[in-house]
């Protein structure tokens, strides 16, 4: 028996070996690229963050210097606070708007394809193009101010023209000003997101909602109709159906959209680089923009080590928030 089964076994293992060999050859381009540009580069990033150097000098080991200066680094903290405000506003607004639009679009109707295509246009266009279009719309003499003038005019009020892309006044500062409260510039973090920052938030929401809407639409179509039938037999109203059937069934996609949104908003770069370069008064400075300018030395000497260490801190923050969100949303699923 052993003599009979042995050659068969070796043949089988030979075929298995051939298969594994083939698989590794098919995988080799990926393995090569990922070993160099993901694993290698990641290790290199750790090393760089403990050194001081620019492109022209050799790395010089400085230990924890860049991590020790973290809490006194006013610019970096400022960029983190800005990014935090940004994520805090953009992620919930874009997620709920996307769900709302998807639910409306999901009803049986004509011209669905047409509306879908129209809605998706802003998110397929490059953020650079959208930024330039919005720059023009946000001009003091642009359409946005014009629209506000008209709307204010309906109520007989006068609209004060706003220089949207160069206005450092913060949201809470504006709200409190009529009560005679003035927030000093040393308490800048209490002033809230500046007008310019909120203008960029609005632009970003405009471009990301459609992508997420498509994800929700696909998920909505996967919800079995029998669930709604059962709910309506039990006498659930449309609103109850939305909260008791639709939202729980959408939970995995909501998680994905929130996580993707968080990763995206904390790393916002394009709009800032084109529209404001971090200004006015650093109210739109973001971590990735700071990392970019410091690494390349756009304003001053190139500081690669500093930039790499800040990138790690940013990565940890993003990881922390996505982890919390995952725990939070998944725990909600268990309760149901």
């Amino acid at each position: 028996m052993a003599a009979l089964s042995n050659p068969f076994k070796s043949l089988k293992s030979q075929a298995a070996r051939r298969e594994a060999f083939a698989a590794y050859i098919f995988l080799s381009p990926y393995l090569l690229v990922t070993l160099i540009f993901t694993v290698g580069v990641f290790g290199f990033a750790i090393y760089i963050s403990f050194t001081d150097f620019n492109l022209f000098t050799a790395p010089e080991w400085v230990g924890l210097k860049h991590y020790q200066s973290l809490f006194t680094d006013r610019k970096f903290i400022r960029s983190l606070v800005n990014a935090f405000y940004y994520a805090l506003v953009v992620v919930p607004v874009q997620t709920s708007l996307a769900i709302l639009l998807a639910v409306v679009l999901n009803a049986p109707m004509r011209a669905k394809q047409f509306f879908r295509t129209i809605f998706y246009a802003p998110s397929v266009t490059s953020s650079v193009v959208i930024s330039f279009i919005f720059w023009w719309l946000y001009l003091k003499t642009g359409y946005i101010n014009f629209a506000f003038t008209k709307i204010w005019g309906l109520f007989g009020a006068e609209w004060e023209m706003i220089n949207w892309l160069n206005d450092p006044r913060g949201l809470f500062q504006l709200i409190l000003a009529p009560f005679g409260v003035n927030i000093p510039s040393s308490l800048w973090y209490l002033r809230g997101p500046s007008i310019t920052w909120m203008a960029i938030m609005a632009q970003n929401i405009f471009t990301t909602v459609p992508t997420f809407m498509i994800m929700f639409l696909a998920a909505l179509q996967d919800i079995p109709p029998s669930l709604y039938e059962a709910a309506s037999i039990d006498g659930a109203s449309k609103r109850q159906q939305f909260f008791k059937v639709t939202l729980p069934m959408l939970r995995p996609v909501i998680l994905l959209v929130v996580v993707l949104g968080t990763i995206g908003t904390w790393q916002i770069f394009d709009q800032v680089a084109i529209l404001t370069a971090g200004g006015p008064l650093d109210t739109t400075l973001t971590p990735v923009y700071l990392i970019y300018t410091e690494a390349l030395g756009v304003s001053g000497p190139s500081r690669m080590g500093y930039a790499a260490s800040r990138a790690f801190v940013l990565g940890l923050i993003i990881f922390f928030f996505t982890f919390i969100q995952r725990r939070f949303i998944e725990r909600g699923t268990e309760h149901n």
């Binding site: 298995a16 298969e19 594994a20 083939a22 698989a23 590794y24 050859i25 098919f26 995988l27 080799s28 381009p29 990926y30 990922t34 160099i36 993901t38 290698g40 580069v41 990641f42 290199f44 990033a45 760089i48 492109l55 639009l101 409306v104 109707m109 879908r116 295509t117 129209i118 809605f119 998706y120 246009a121 397929v124 490059s126 953020s127 650079v128 193009v129 959208i130 330039f132 279009i133 023009w136 719309l137 003091k140 101010n145 014009f146 405009f206 459609p210 498509i214 639409l217 696909a218 998920a219 996967d222 790393q267 770069f269 394009d270 990392i291 790499a308 990138a311 940013l314 990565g315 996505t322």
Partner: protein, 424 residues
């Protein structure tokens, strides 16, 4: 439906109220959608109309909807503007070599293998060394070409490029070589493909010189080439990896796949600085290599295709395996045709991703002849600050190809995005 309540006898008025209410809801829904649709599309319409206005008209207050006089000349004026800068040899050579590499790949994979195994002709112990020699000569040719075209090309640039292109050629040889092919045919195909690659390299080198330096035509050429080449290379390499993940058994599969999924969650900001240092050390700044080589395969692309392949039945491949087909034949003749819809989806998504990318080209391409449209548009705006009409024409030239692509293939777009979302 409408007649049912009337028959039941709850009263005609109730039925009428039901109908009208339903109609009102439908009408409201269409109204809402049209309003949102108009709002969403308004920036595009406004800027398209704006691109035909005069300088003064475009920043006048109150703004008008239509131009008083249609300035059709704005569009050709954009293409005539020249921000200066001549095509540099480094840039044009890198464009040529990348397109040449791509042409080599396509020709070799398509012609390198016959369906019947040849037992006559060149045996492996002769064929393999000869093929390796050919590839070595090809790499040497790359290095010599760079040396002859780029004045003062450093050793680092010549060797890093030759090694990268040589490695990719070796992978192509390994893919075909593992299937016990007819080695005479492999040698002929390899020599032919190297020739095709060289010809295409030279052709695109000339085209890039013709397109000029700091002009819109050149930026359009750069952007289109980068997007097409990167998306096509991803189709080849992502589908290969996806075939391995979806169909083949090999040790370490689960580990590599989980690693790949984890790497998709790694924020790009973390690797930004070291990747830039690495590309700068390889002397690939201001060359197409620095953008194309790291992007020939992405975790997202592999993941998308793997999920698709897992869902299609295996009957065809199993009978082909029994008939003695090699893995490469199965991949080329069965898997690729079956995966066509997913491949088209991936192509469109990756084409769009490269076309719309801003940070990577901003980092790696910074001379006037190497810019892509996104980067060029920013410099252009700084130079023509007062001329918003020209800037808007530039924005439209950048947006229109992507919008057209989307309107024609919106089904594939939507499938790709929702697929990544739902199944992720």
């Amino acid at each position: 439906m409408a007649s049912i309540p009337a028959n039941v006898g709850t009263g005609k008025t109730a039925a009428r109220v039901m109908i009208t209410r339903k109609q009102v809801v439908t009408a409201l829904r269409y109204l809402l959608l049209s309003a949102v649709g108009l709002l969403v599309f308004a920036p595009f319409i406004l800027s398209f109309l704006g691109s035909f206005k005069t300088n003064a008209e475009i920043i006048a207050f109150p703004p008008t909807l239509f131009p008083a006089e249609w300035q059709v000349g704005n569009w050709p004026r954009l293409f005539r503007t020249d921000l200066g800068g001549l095509p540099r040899p480094e840039g044009t050579t890198s464009i040529g070599l990348i397109v040449g590499l791509f042409a080599f790949y396509l020709t070799f994979l398509l012609t390198g293998m016959s369906n019947k195994k040849g037992d006559e002709g060149v045996p492996m112990r002769v064929g393999l060394p000869l093929a390796l020699l050919l590839i070595g000569l090809g790499s040497l040719g790359v290095s010599l070409f760079l040396g002859s075209q780029v004045p003062g090309a450093s050793m680092m640039l010549r060797s890093s490029t030759a090694v990268a292109i040589g490695l990719l050629m070796l992978i192509a040889l390994a893919i075909i070589g593992m299937s016990e092919p007819d080695w005479r045919r492999v040698l002929v195909a390899l020599a032919g493909s190297l020739l095709v690659g060289a010809l295409v390299t030279w052709l695109f080198h000339q085209l890039a010189i013709l397109a000029g330096g700091g002009r819109f035509l050149r930026w359009f050429f750069n952007t289109a080439l980068l997007s097409v080449i990167r998306a096509f290379l991803q189709l080849i390499f992502c589908s290969m990896a996806a075939y391995a993940f979806a169909r083949l058994k090999f040790p370490g599969k689960g580990l590599i796949f989980s690693f790949m999924l984890a790497s998709m969650m790694l924020p790009g900001a973390v690797t930004l600085v070291p990747a830039y240092v690495l590309i700068a050390r390889l002397e690939w700044i201001n060359k197409f290599f620095g953008i194309v080589f790291p992007g020939i395969v992405t975790a997202f692309g592999i993941f998308l295709l793997t999920q698709f392949l897992k869902a299609i039945p295996r009957d065809l491949e199993e009978s082909a395996l029994v008939d003695g087909a090699s893995y490469f034949q199965i991949y080329r003749d069965i898997i690729l045709p079956l995966a066509r819809p997913a491949l088209l989806t991936l192509f469109i998504l990756q084409f769009q991703a490269m076309w719309n990318d801003y940070l990577t080209p901003l980092l790696y391409l910074n001379t006037a002849d190497m810019w892509v449209l996104n980067v060029a548009l920013q410099v252009f705006q700084q130079n023509f600050k007062a001329e918003w009409n020209l800037v808007l024409v530039g924005a439209m030239v950048n947006a229109v190809p992507i919008l057209l692509l989307f309107f024609f293939f919106s089904r594939y777009y939507i499938e790709g995005v929702s697929y990544a979302g739902v199944k992720g």
